[in-house]
C-alpha cells in the first residue's frame, strides 16, 4: 500500500466550494462562512501585531490610531464587523444543526419529501435576517454616531 496516497480524491479542489452542481442556499452560507472565517483569522493575526505597536510608545500608538480614523479604515473596520456578525450567527445556526435542534423528527421518506434542510430553513432565514439587521445597525452606529 502506498502511504503517500491521499485519503480521498478531492477532485474539484477549491472550485468545488463555488459550484459542483445544484447548490442550495445553505451551501452558499457555508461558502460565506469559510471566506469570512479565513478573513477573520488573517485579520486577527495582523491585529495582534498591529496592537503591539503600543510598545513603541505614545507617539507611535496615536499615529496608528490616527490612521485608523481615516474613512478607508472605517470601511475596513465595518467589513470586519459585518464578517464577524455573519460568521458568528451562521456559526450558531451550524452549532444548532450539529446538536440536532430544529431539524424536525425523523419521518418516513414518502413523496413529496421533506428534508431536514427544508425543515431547518425558516430558522436559517430568521438568523440571516437578524445578522442583516445587526450589520445595518452596526453600520449606522459606526458611520453616524
Amino acid at each position: 500500500m502506498n502511504s503517500n496516497k491521499p485519503a480521498y480524491n478531492n477532485r474539484l479542489g477549491i472550485k468545488g466550494w463555488v459550484y459542483a452542481g445544484k447548490y442550495t442556499f445553505e451551501r452558499y452560507l457555508y461558502l460565506g462562512h469559510r471566506l469570512t472565517g479565513m478573513g477573520l483569522i488573517a485579520y486577527m493575526l495582523l491585529h495582534i501585531i498591529e496592537t503591539a505597536n503600543r510598545m513603541r510608545g505614545v507617539v507611535a500608538w496615536e499615529g496608528l490610531m490616527g490612521l485608523f480614523a481615516l474613512p478607508l479604515f472605517k470601511m475596513i473596520e465595518y467589513a470586519l464587523f459585518a464578517a464577524a456578525v455573519f460568521h458568528a450567527l451562521n456559526g450558531v445556526r451550524l452549532l444548532m444543526t450539529e446538536l440536532g435542534f430544529f431539524l424536525g423528527r425523523p419521518k418516513e421518506p414518502v413523496y413529496p419529501y421533506s428534508s431536514s434542510i427544508k425543515r431547518h430553513r425558516p430558522l436559517t432565514y430568521i438568523i440571516m435576517a437578524l445578522a442583516a439587521l445587526i450589520i445595518i445597525l452596526g453600520g449606522s452606529s459606526l458611520f453616524f454616531p
Binding site: 483569522i41 486577527m44 503600543r54 490610531m65 454616531p145
Partner: protein, 122 residues
C-alpha cells in the same frame, strides 16, 4: 477519537468567543453607543493603558486570544487538510499550524502583560 476531541473544543470555545468578542467590539468599536465616549477617546493611549491594568481585562483578553486562535486555526487547518495532499504533508500542515498558534499566543500574551505591567505615570 483525537479528531472528535479537537472538534468538540472547536465548538466549546464558540460561546467564549461570542461573549468576549462582543465585549471587545462594544469597548473598542462601539464606545459611543455603549459607553457614551467617542471612539478616539476610547482608543487613546492613556485610556488603553488604564483598561489594560485591570486583572479582569488581562485574564479575559488572554482567554479570548486562546479561544479565537484555537477556533480560527483549527478551522483553517481543516480547510487546508481538505485539499489533496499526502499524509506527510498533512503532518507538516498540522505542525505549522500549531507552531503559528503558539507563537501568536505567546506574542499576544506578552503584549497584554506589557500593558498590564506598564508603570503608572510612565
Amino acid at each position: 477519537m483525537r479528531e472528535t476531541r479537537l472538534w468538540s473544543w472547536h465548538l466549546l470555545v464558540i460561546p467564549i468567543i461570542i461573549v468576549l468578542l462582543g465585549l471587545h467590539f462594544a469597548i473598542m468599536h462601539y464606545a459611543p453607543v455603549f459607553y457614551g465616549v467617542s471612539v478616539e477617546e476610547a482608543r487613546n493611549f492613556e485610556a488603553m493603558i488604564e483598561r489594560g491594568k485591570s486583572v479582569a481585562q488581562l485574564v479575559l483578553y488572554i482567554l479570548l486570544l486562546a479561544a479565537a486562535l484555537y477556533h480560527g486555526l483549527y478551522g483553517l487547518r481543516g480547510i487546508i487538510r481538505e485539499l489533496p495532499m499526502t499524509p506527510a504533508l498533512g503532518k507538516i500542515v498540522d505542525i505549522t499550524v500549531i507552531c503559528v498558534g503558539l507563537f501568536i499566543f505567546a506574542f499576544g500574551t506578552y503584549v497584554t502583560w506589557w500593558t498590564f505591567s506598564y508603570p503608572v505615570g510612565g
